[in-house]
């Protein structure tokens, strides 16, 4: 595949690793914000070929993993209603809520379906006029334009039987939350390339200035990630803290204005809880007034559903690099991949899950 295969060239990767090794003079903690980058780092074992000085800290950027328990419990409550078809992306259906996951609801008779695109959810509503189709709309900024279009399209088609359970989250507030923790050890960031494809780079500049950290917009293929690490190391070694773009083939400084306009028309900012991190103000989007009638939480009376994250989870410390997962008292005892206390153990890409599985070996 063009624009994919060539960025997986092992010789070119080794050139970049040599360049990083030649540039680095001391240890640096760099956080790759995005779970997709963590995924590639693990899949291609990039952390094993980087110089020892580079310590990659895996960030909170997996929307599936940070969706809080109570939101998943709401989705489960919706899916259990006989009139509802609940649909979402495949990876969302396996996330455990406080008691069960959506697949369990399906096995109990709930109508739960996987969709590839939000538009498919709208199509489902047209095909089943006698049912209520609820789309569990999760994602970061990257997914928001697509999810926004589902609402727009439902309005255009006058669909009365389509609604959305929205759990959108935003990356810059999460970066700020990581940096606001006292004695934060993250010295540089690889920002999530596809989020910036939509939103551009402007939001990151005040962060880089205020916290004096380099933020390098980075893609997802091995060469992209290594290029991002190199550009971050160059700034760190020369004491700079700028927003730089290591993913220029997909990210323009201004992002995608058409997508931003559509998102602004459909969504409005809101505070969100993050699994494993807690409440972050203005860290998400919900349906704004023009599309509020498609809000599943308004359409269905779900009662009062809350679920508390267990106190024992110290994901925040792990994210800061202050605690290795295996040093956490809950690790492998009451917190396991099957019964996770927090996001980092929920996600297979999370640091705790990775350590857990490695140690068991």
């Amino acid at each position: 595949m063009k624009y994919l295969d060539e960025y997986r060239n092992a010789d070119a990767a080794r050139s970049l690793v040599r360049a990083i090794a030649a540039r680095v003079t001391r240890p640096w903690n760099i956080m790759e914000v995005c779970g997709g980058q963590t995924h590639a780092i693990v899949r291609f074992a990039l952390d094993e070929i980087l110089p020892d000085e580079i310590r990659l800290i895996h960030g909170p950027g997996c929307p599936v993993c940070v969706t809080p328990l109570e939101t998943i419990d709401r989705a489960i409550a919706l899916a259990a209603r006989p009139e509802v078809i609940l649909c979402s992306f495949g990876d969302m259906l396996r996330v455990p809520g406080s008691g069960k996951d959506l697949f369990t609801v399906k096995s109990e008779g709930g109508d739960v379906r996987v969709v590839y695109s939000p538009i498919d959810a709208v199509t489902l509503a047209r095909k089943h006029p006698d049912r209520q189709v609820v789309f569990f709309a999760i994602g970061f900024e990257t997914t928001a334009p697509a999810n926004a279009m589902a609402a727009v399209q439902a309005a255009r088609l006058g669909l009365e039987n389509f609604s959305m359970l929205v759990a959108h989250v935003l990356v810059p507030p999460a970066i700020r939350a990581v940096l606001d923790v006292p004695d934060c050890r993250v010295q540089g960031f690889l920002a999530a390339g596809h989020v910036c494809t939509v939103m551009g780079a402007a939001e990151y500049r005040p962060l880089a200035e205020r916290y004096r950290v380099p933020i390098v917009i980075t893609g997802f293929e091995p060469l992209d990630i290594l290029r991002g690490v190199l550009m971050c190391v160059e700034q760190l070694e020369s004491g700079r803290h700028e927003v730089a773009n290591a993913y220029p083939r997909a990210v323009r400084p201004e992002g995608n204005p058409a997508a931003q306009r559509q998102v602004a028309e459909v969504f409005e900012p809101t505070g969100r809880k993050w699994r494993g991190i807690g409440e972050i103000p203005a860290s998400g989007w919900r349906l704004g007034p023009a599309y509020a009638r498609f809000d599943a939480e308004r359409r269905f009376d779900l009662g009062h559903i809350t679920a508390e994250e267990p106190d024992a989870c110290r994901a925040g410390d792990v994210l800061q690099g202050r605690l290795r997962p295996c040093e956490c008292p809950s690790f492998g005892v009451e917190c396991t991949p099957e019964q996770p206390l927090g996001a980092l153990m929920v996600s297979a890409e999370g640091a705790c899950a990775a350590y857990y599985r490695y140690r068991r070996k």
């Binding site: 595949m1 994919l4 997986r8 092992a10 990767a13 080794r14 779970g35 997709g36 995924h39 693990v42 899949r43 291609f44 074992a45 990039l46 952390d47 094993e48 070929i49 980087l50 020892d52 310590r55 997996c62 929307p63 599936v64 993993c65 992306f89 495949g90 990876d91 259906l93 396996r94 996330v95 069960k100 996951d101 697949f103 369990t104 096995s107 109990e108 379906r113 996987v114 969709v115 590839y116 498919d120 489902l124 999760i138 994602g139 997914t143 991949p337 099957e338 996770p340 929920v346 996600s347 297979a348 890409e349 999370g350 899950a353 990775a354 350590y355 599985r357 490695y358 068991r360 070996k361």
Partner: protein, 353 residues
């Protein structure tokens, strides 16, 4: 940073629950849940006291003859997909399970569970596919059964086939014979069946998918058995893909398996579809591919024989059996590092992240 050992990281996000009180789709997905079901429920129920051998067929003795005996059920939706249909699968699947013991497949049974309202033309087409596949495989379908369920209680039709085959006197092919030093050979590229079926699933549909690799493998096995050198074990790749097959063998034989990712063939269409949907071809389903384990000195000869067979146009040595990390399959990345190739919980799902 990682003291040289690959970490075990499943490339799906996030980890699922495992303590289910009811049957989940993942219990049939060829992954960890299915393994738990077999080991925790079926084996204690049916095979208490006998050693559990994860072979594709049971080996039974009748008089002086050694027979391979197996059964398989087919529930694919939709019934027709690029490169085959449920009928082709029902014959090839059972023929292949027999062939993996080195047996010559002889007789099959066919049980049909039909849904009220299924067009008879559809049934006729599928029966014709089964006949063709059986002819191609040189087996006879000698007995059968038909049941009909209420409309809405089945996806058109389900088929069960069982089969028996005859094992030659000198043939001894089974997972227990796999030993350190064996090479791991793969007969062709991965994932065609899984992607072909996915391409016609409601809501996922895409064009240009490769055809299913669905094919009877007994002819290829027969060719390979002609080698003077030894063949220790054969395994056809089905649900759960290469990863599931190798994990099962590594666990049973208590050996480690080390794979070279770059040596594992995947065609462009499968690779592209996997990228698009966030799937890993190493876990994608196949219906016409096998892995073979043989000692180093036989590799060249076996590869040569495979090459000559049309169902193994691009056989490859993809890895090695080792003493270290028994029960664990490791994958060497072309970039130099490694990771562990674990079982998935169930079937792969398209993902967004």
């Amino acid at each position: 940073m990682t003291n040289g050992h690959p970490r075990e990281v499943t490339l799906s996000c996030p980890l699922p629950l495992r303590d289910y009180p009811t049957v989940q789709m993942a219990h049939g997905g060829g992954g960890r849940l299915m393994q738990e079901l077999i080991e925790g429920l079926f084996l204690p129920g049916f095979a208490a006291g006998r050693p559990a051998i994860p072979h594709d067929s049971a080996l039974v003795e009748v008089g002086r003859e050694r027979l391979a005996f197996t059964t398989d059920s087919f529930v694919v939706t939709p019934l027709f997909f690029p490169g085959g249909d449920i009928g082709t699968l029902a014959v090839c699947g059972t023929v292949n399970d027999l062939a993996m013991t080195g047996a010559k497949p002889l007789y099959l049974s066919a049980g049909f569970i039909l849904e009220e309202g299924l067009p008879l033309d559809t049934l006729r087409r599928i029966v014709e596919s089964m006949r063709q596949a059986a002819d191609e495989a040189g087996v006879q379908i000698v007995t059968g059964d038909t049941k009909v369920v209420d409309r809405g209680r089945g996806d058109g039709m389900y088929i069960n086939t069982a089969g028996i085959g005859l094992i030659g006197p000198r043939t001894d092919i089974r997972p227990g014979r796999v030993e350190p030093g064996d090479a791991v050979l793969l007969s062709g590229d991965l994932g065609r069946h899984g992607i072909a079926v996915m391409s016609v699933r409601e809501g996922l549909d895409f064009a240009g998918a490769p055809e299913s690799d669905c094919a009877p493998l007994h002819g290829l096995v027969e060719t390979m058995l002609a080698a003077d050198g030894e063949l220790h074990c054969l395994r056809d790749l089905t649900r759960g893909g290469l990863a599931a097959a190798l994990n099962e063998i590594a666990r049973h034989a208590q050996v480690g398996i080390e794979l070279e990712e770059a040596a594992i063939p995947v065609c462009e269409g499968v690779r592209s579809a996997c990228e698009l949907l966030g799937l890993d071809p190493l876990y994608a389903a196949n219906e016409g591919r096998l892995v073979a384990f043989c000692p180093a000195e036989s590799v060249e000869e076996v590869l040569h024989l495979m090459h000559a067979h049309p169902l193994a146009e691009s056989p490859a040595v993809i890895g090695l059996v080792v003493d270290e990390h028994p029960g664990v399959v490791e994958l060497q990345s072309p970039f130099g590092g490694g990771r562990i190739l674990d079982l998935l919980s169930g079937e792969q799902m398209p993902r967004i992240c």
